[in-house]
Symmetry: C2
Subunit: 432 residues, 2 copies
């Protein structure tokens, strides 16, 4: 990679500078792509796996080292670095207008087990790079700026939830991928689990939140689009599904006398697919888990444990899909002599992004010469929690082949640079 590659879009989009006014300075401001990508490479050393990915679960030794590294970069970017009681890392830069509330940018640096080196990390290093760019160009925003690295996003957006509401004892008792409880983890990273009320922000405490992230899907990569403007983060709804039939000898039980729980589950899986794809839109429905019991060649399955996942930007549509699936299940029960039970285990509301934020992102991207596409986020993000507090916006960059949560997760240095520049300029627009 070289600078020419990084600046290709920039050079096409912008005329040569003539007036070094504060305004033109801002318009021509660019993050330093080589530095940003070097930081990402350095960050990827903490928890690097033989497969070339990253294993850096929250509260682990690797997580602690990566946090130290990130705080060093934040101080170099002239940010005033502190931890809140939840252990979130917050770097502050003062604004010029004392009455304005802070604009927040950031993401997370923890990973899933055996994950990749881009999810969360691009947005975290990107936000620090934006702050560094403002500092070294002496650009002061009207709003205070907060660069945030939320702790334990992959374990359930814990750090961002701690801003949106007081974590409960139940939350704090959860055992995470590091085998520590959230409570113990917060202590390990330097937070104070007995003082979490101080981490909670009120509605109105923040002017807005912007997050840069990899798409984790394949749309932008396939369609060769530079920047995704996120229209919202889908609601995630998971059910555990149990199918009860009757186990019987597979050799001696005639076909018409079976109560085959696996045949019923097969009809259910097809029904979920049929219902979800029968409507226009980007809703998804997934049966991700299934095990048949007792699970022998020789025995008609008497029980199946399976699942249902439904996601959409529109909660009413999810409810409607669920009801259509329930109607199909009734028919399947009658046809197969089985009984289904649905137990909801997760339900999050869709979090729409703010129209002004979407517009700022789209305009910033187009000014920089990038193509854009409006798309939903199928994955959950910290922004979803922060949406309870203030308007949010999210910027996506392409993920190669849509692969994520895998060592094969990859975004090009150019796309990463582009994304950070869009973050910078969307921030400048929102600040203006």
């Amino acid at each position: 990679m070289n600078r020419r590659t990084f600046n290709f879009h920039l050079m096409a989009a912008l005329p040569a500078l003539t007036l070094p006014s504060q305004n033109s300075l801002r318009i021509n401001l660019r993050i330093r792509g080589q530095r940003l990508n070097a930081h990402l490479s350095e960050l990827a050393q903490f928890g690097k796996t033989p497969e070339g990915g990253t294993h850096r679960v929250a509260y682990s030794e690797e997580d602690l080292q990566a946090r130290q590294y990130a705080m060093r970069l934040m101080r170099e970017a002239k940010l005033d670095v502190s931890l809140d009681a939840a252990g979130n890392i917050i770097g502050r830069r003062a604004g010029s207008d004392a009455v304005l509330k802070p604009l927040m940018i950031g993401s997370h640096i923890d990973s899933v087990p055996a994950g990749g080196s881009y999810d969360g990390q691009v947005g975290s290093m990107g936000a620090i790079e934006v702050a560094q760019t403002l500092a070294e160009n002496n650009v002061r925003l009207r709003h205070p700026l907060e660069v945030v690295l939320f702790q334990n996003e992959e374990g359930g957006t814990i750090g961002s939830t701690a801003l949106a509401r007081l974590l409960t004892d139940q939350d704090l008792s959860l055992v995470t991928n590091s085998k520590k409880t959230i409570r113990a983890g917060i202590k390990v990273i330097g937070g104070d689990p007995d003082n979490l009320a101080s981490a909670v922000r009120k509605q109105g405490d923040l002017a807005g939140y912007l997050e840069l992230h990899i798409e984790q899907g394949g749309l932008l990569h396939q369609e060769k689009i530079n920047i995704g403007v996120v229209e919202g983060i889908v609601g995630v709804n998971w059910w555990e599904v149990t199918v009860e039939g009757f186990a019987n000898h597979a050799g001696t039980t005639p076909m018409n006398q079976r109560k085959d729980a696996l045949l019923a589950a097969a009809k259910y899986i097809e029904a979920v697919n049929r219902v979800v794809t029968s409507l226009p839109g980007r809703q998804v429905g997934t049966v991700g888990k299934l095990q048949a019991f007792p699970g022998a060649f020789n025995i008609v399955p008497g029980k199946v444990v399976t699942s249902l996942g439904l996601r959409d930007l529109d909660a009413a549509k999810v409810r409607m899909l669920y009801e259509k699936i329930q109607a199909e299940v009734k028919l399947i029960e009658a046809a197969t002599g089985t009984k289904f039970e649905f137990k909801q285990v997760t339900s999050s509301q869709p979090a729409p992004t703010d129209a002004r934020f979407r517009q700022a992102i789209d305009e910033a991207a187009k000014q920089l010469g990038f193509t854009t596409k409006l798309l939903p986020s199928g994955a959950g993000h910290d922004a979803q929690e922060i949406a309870h507090l203030c308007p949010i916006g999210m910027i996506f960059i392409p993920s190669r082949d849509g692969i994520s949560h895998s060592p094969r997760e990859f975004s090009t240095p150019e796309d990463i640079t582009n994304g950070a520049n869009v973050l910078l300029h969307a921030l400048l627009k929102l600040d203006a």
Copy 2:
């Protein structure tokens, strides 16, 4: 229970005796149902489970105790008891015609783990009761009689296979439910694994084999039929089936870009059911195993491990069903972007019973006043192996609700008595 109940069918069917000739003696011969059922209760003590079933896997301490008990009963029935090199228990009674080969009757006394107290045990105690009845009535058959208790039927018809062919090193290395290898197990029960050639019988060594067994299916019980005349033992064919798709994030992968191995498996399960039930006949097709990988709410399944089982009396029909299923699988692969692999792990040929034996069973049952039905055996039996050596016949009695391999397995004392009387009289007819 009392004698009147047991003899109900007999009394309806037969006129009072007037001529105590050898012939009328034979026609009026009856086993002693109370004794037989008492023996079954005593046998059930070896490995009795809290649920009221039997756990008596081959080569276990319980199996050894049950074998000692059965050998005592055989000696009381004036049988000449010995073990062959495979550890099968054989009780001999001489015949009157020196040129005739032996007629063999018997079954097995080992059980599946946590099984019932009837499977194999009814036929074993029934065969001993027949020998006892012949002995105490001084009835000498023309053929020599062999009462056999095959070892380890539930672990793969090991004892009967040892009569049909020389067990291989591979057979002997198999680890059974008792955690012993077949080789070690044969030693434990008093056989000689280094001298197995002596246990093998040649074609023509036996005049025939008759086995009494519980149905293990629900047909006789449902239709209130006394005696099943088995038309053959189905061939058992098992395949391990692997479906390869592509694992992906369930939130970010649009429905039309998925290669969902579980959706493909669901279509396959429905196709198996559709193909198998689209033809008349008693064939069965079962998908008994299924697990989706990685198996998370959140991930489109990339891999499924499942199975296929097909059984029928006609091997050509099984091949045809398999080919129809393969044709459906091709369409599913194309529609879902997945790849199926079938690996056959078990293949046994159907074993038809002999027409003369079926007729003897049917006539004996009708003479005794019983209703009969011709039906296949969906489960495998020792008779299947012995069919390689000589003509075979099988007599079924009703299983309550068709339940088997379960503590809930049950046949009434009356049905057990009826079955043993049919065994006795079919044997007398075949001997004549």
